[in-house]
């Protein structure tokens, strides 16, 4: 004689799904907040080269990207198919780099300025000539910390 004798006729109560929308909304808000839409529209095609000795960049607000590559197909008619520099969301010449760097640094809180970093997002097929020009300009602008943006997965032995 068990005390907990099952009452054969009782059905399992259905689990309430009333709170399901709330759970989903919570997830939804998380992803809405976490989603970073690309701020700039890329006008050059950049396929980063692969490397293995990579470091992660932590604070995105301290990183200013410089894109170098060939203009995208749609823009090639107007801009040609030579490697070009893109700052913010426009094509730029080498001499525009210094004002660009100064403008970016001015936006950063003073005590963090030392950590400012330039991320070079250069297409793997670009030539070093233009990259060297940009690097020289960065040196003159005193933006010495740079990062060569890469993909993972390089193995020299292969």
């Amino acid at each position: 004689m068990s005390k907990f004798k099952k009452d054969g006729k009782k059905k399992l109560p259905a689990i309430s799904t009333a709170s399901l929308p709330d759970i989903i909304f919570m997830l939804l808000f998380f992803f809405m907040v976490a989603t970073v839409m690309r701020e700039v529209e890329l006008k050059v095609k950049v396929t980063a080269p692969d490397a293995s000795e990579v470091q992660k960049l932590e604070d995105k607000s301290l990183v200013s990207p410089i894109y170098i590559g060939k203009p995208t197909k749609a823009l090639q008619a107007k801009w040609g198919d030579e490697d070009r520099i893109q700052l913010n969301d426009a094509f730029a010449e080498v001499n525009e780099i210094r004002p660009f760097v100064e403008e970016k640094i001015a936006k950063i809180a003073e005590y963090k300025r030392k950590k400012h970093m330039i991320s070079m997002k250069v297409d793997e097929n670009a030539k070093m000539g233009i990259v060297t020009d940009v690097k020289q300009e960065l040196r003159d602008a005193n933006a010495l910390k740079i990062n060569y943006s890469t993909r993972k997965g390089f193995d020299a032995k292969k």
Partner: protein
């Protein structure tokens, strides 16, 4: 006559929320920017002449516009380099050789403070000098940079394993001061030559 408005069913709310959720799930890119971090040398000061570096301490890696590598070390014929063996060769060059061996860079006496003990160490004065042409492709440039950084990182790892039993990366996280000692013993001795004008007039 006023009709009662029927209640709107909230049953499909979950579906709508799901739809939005899936949209954001798909569009979210959690890509963190990663890459090879380098420090550029400050702009050249004309009043200061760069320090002379003895030929024996320099390992020159030259990349031409056809993406071919040439290695020059003192006392050896310049030989074509291979990206596959570059890391091993650079490691061999930068590894301190003591007592003094004329085929390798000079060594400098150094005292490391490890776990409170003073340990004498012989630091290699070797420097890897990298030079490239304007026509060199960025891809091979990054690959060479990667191998050079890898060589230094592996040397640091070896030292770090020997004294602390962990990789340099782990050491950097757990004990910054100790990591500084390792950095002092194995500096990131990679220098890039000042860009030269090849045939251009200025």
């Amino acid at each position: 006559m006023i009709r009662e408005t029927p209640e709107i069913s909230a049953g499909s709310m979950a579906d709508i929320a799901f739809l939005l959720l899936i949209f954001f799930l798909v569009t979210t890119t959690m890509d963190v920017d990663s890459g090879i971090v380098r420090k550029l040398p400050p702009p050249l000061d004309k009043n200061i002449t760069p320090p002379k570096i003895i030929k024996r301490n320099i390992y020159t890696v030259l990349i031409n516009s056809a993406d071919m590598i040439l290695i020059t070390v003192k006392g050896q014929e310049p030989k074509p380099g291979n990206i596959k063996t570059l890391r091993r060769d650079v490691k061999e060059f930068l590894r301190p050789h003591y007592p003094d061996n004329p085929n390798f860079p000079e060594v400098e006496d150094l005292v490391l403070e490890i776990n409170g003990r003073k340990i004498p160490y012989h630091k290699s004065k070797g420097i890897v000098s990298m030079q490239n042409d304007r026509g060199t492709s960025y891809k091979i440039y990054i690959h060479v940079q990667n191998e050079l950084a890898g060589a230094v990182r592996e040397l640091r790892d070896e030292l770090s394993q020997q004294y602390y039993g962990m990789t340099f990366k782990e050491l950097l996280k757990s004990d910054e001061k100790a990591a500084k000692q390792i950095q002092k013993a194995v500096p990131m001795a990679i220098s890039e030559a000042e860009p030269a004008d090849f045939g251009g007039s200025k």
